[in-house]
Amino acid sequence: MSIQVKKSFFRKLLTFVPLILLFVSVMNEFDFNYLNYKYFSFNFPFILIYYWSLKRSESLGYGYIFIAGLFNDITIGFPLGVSGLTYLLICGFAAYLRNITLRPNLVNDWMFFLFTILFVTSINYFLLISIFSIEMNYYELMGNIFFTFLFYYIFAYLFDIYLKLVFKGNKNV
């Protein structure tokens, strides 16, 4: 009985891993920037939100994503609501792709991800530069988009494995 309860708890905990990862990454700036490589950084929350909104939207609720956006704004020092809007737009793009896709394909998802992050980063850039007069390094931003795009393929592959292991038998997968 006790073992059954533990197993069930552990299984339940595993389903929350994407959400835990999201909150950890927004508070931690998980981007390996301490390596001090010029222009090297990537936006892990973008990858996480896009992938899970596309593959299993109930793993990350929109409300939690919005709150994660607020946390990210506080951590980075952006005006409140900017990251939330960015994250929710990514969710919107992912939901749109999910609706129009009959046969999911990693390369198609990857290309659409590029379009998505270009669009949302442009919105983000516009808001910060035009409305809040916050200076940003355009080249670093481009580097961030490029590496985020590259890393999506790797993380998507890893998340696919995780998805199969944890949510196997689920009709949504």
Binding site: F66, P79, G84, L88, G92
Partner: protein, 282 residues
């Protein structure tokens, strides 16, 4: 065309307006909420500032805790980088130690010399010219300890010039060709250098042994040698400037005083050739 447009509208509507099974808010509601927050932030509404201050308190503390693993990773990364740099650091440190040792010996000598010169005012000062030469050949036979350098008479090399490794005396020029020269090392049996042992200003002759060390010869008076004594050129005979460090005293026995050279004479790649001239004070 119209069907395609309808599909697009349906997909967009479904993505932004439809709520999932466990979703309390649709995407569009939260997007509008975000936009409202942005506008209120821009307008500096006090309520938003209070919200931000409250969130700051919680999130900064949470961030600190959450960042601990990454901090550990960062520390590990730095430790790893330092580990790989260890060899380079060691080389730099060794070089610095050598320089500092020279500074120390030089300073000791200058201090002793200063005390001496206070009693006697010298009548001349010494000037020097300096050349850097590459060691072409390292003749390390048991009978002859010499090196061939790539500078000769065309470069201004003269007989008797002092040969230095960094700041330490290692020999003198004994043969000058047009573009090369031979230097006899202080370790050669034929090498005889007038020296001064400090502290104490004990004058003597350093003789090579054909090995990696030299011997102090022709002691004219009793002198209490100590392991801490340092051997410098004395300047007697006018060949070398006084005060160039050569080595450190090592006592084998009362009659056998060894001098361990500061430079490793078997590993020399570049040397400095220096000449000294006496100049009368006007």
């Amino acid at each position: 065309m119209a069907t395609s447009r309808d599909d697009f509208v349906i997909a967009i509507r479904s993505a932004f307006l439809k709520k999932g099974n466990q979703q309390r808010f649709s995407l569009i509601v939260l997007i509008f909420f975000s936009i409202s927050l942005i506008v209120l932030s821009r307008l500096n509404v006090p309520a938003i500032n209070y919200l931000k201050v409250s969130l700051n308190e919680i999130i900064y503390r949470a961030s600190f805790v959450v960042s601990i693993p990454e901090q550990q990773l960062q520390n590990a990364s730095i430790a790893l980088k330092n580990h790989f740099k260890l060899y380079e650091d060691l080389k730099i440190t060794k070089k610095k130690i050598k320089e500092l040792e020279f500074e120390k010996y030089n300073s000791n000598y200058l201090s002793a010399e200063n005390t001496r010169l206070r009693k006697l005012i010298d009548e001349y000062i010494v000037q020097s010219d300096e050349l850097v030469a590459k060691v072409l050949l390292d003749k390390n036979s048991p009978f002859l300890k010499s090196i061939i350098v790539n500078k000769g008479s065309k470069d201004g090399v003269k007989l008797g010039m002092a040969v230095l490794d960094n700041q330490y005396l290692i020999g003198k020029i004994v043969e000058v060709n047009y573009s090369t020269s031979r230097a006899l090392l202080v370790s050669d049996l034929n090498s005889k250098i007038p020296i001064s042992v400090e502290p104490g200003n004990f004058l003597s002759i350093l003789s090579g042994t054909g090995k990696s060390y030299g011997k102090i010869q022709y002691t004219q008076q009793d002198f209490n040698f100590q392991e801490s004594n340092v051997v410098y050129t004395s300047g007697s005979g006018g060949i070398f400037k006084s005060g160039i460090p050569i080595g450190k005293v090592k006592i084998e026995s009362n009659e056998n005083i060894r001098v361990n050279f500061f430079s490793n004479l078997s590993q020399i790649t570049f040397v400095k050739l220096i000449s000294f001239e006496k100049e009368e004070i006007e």
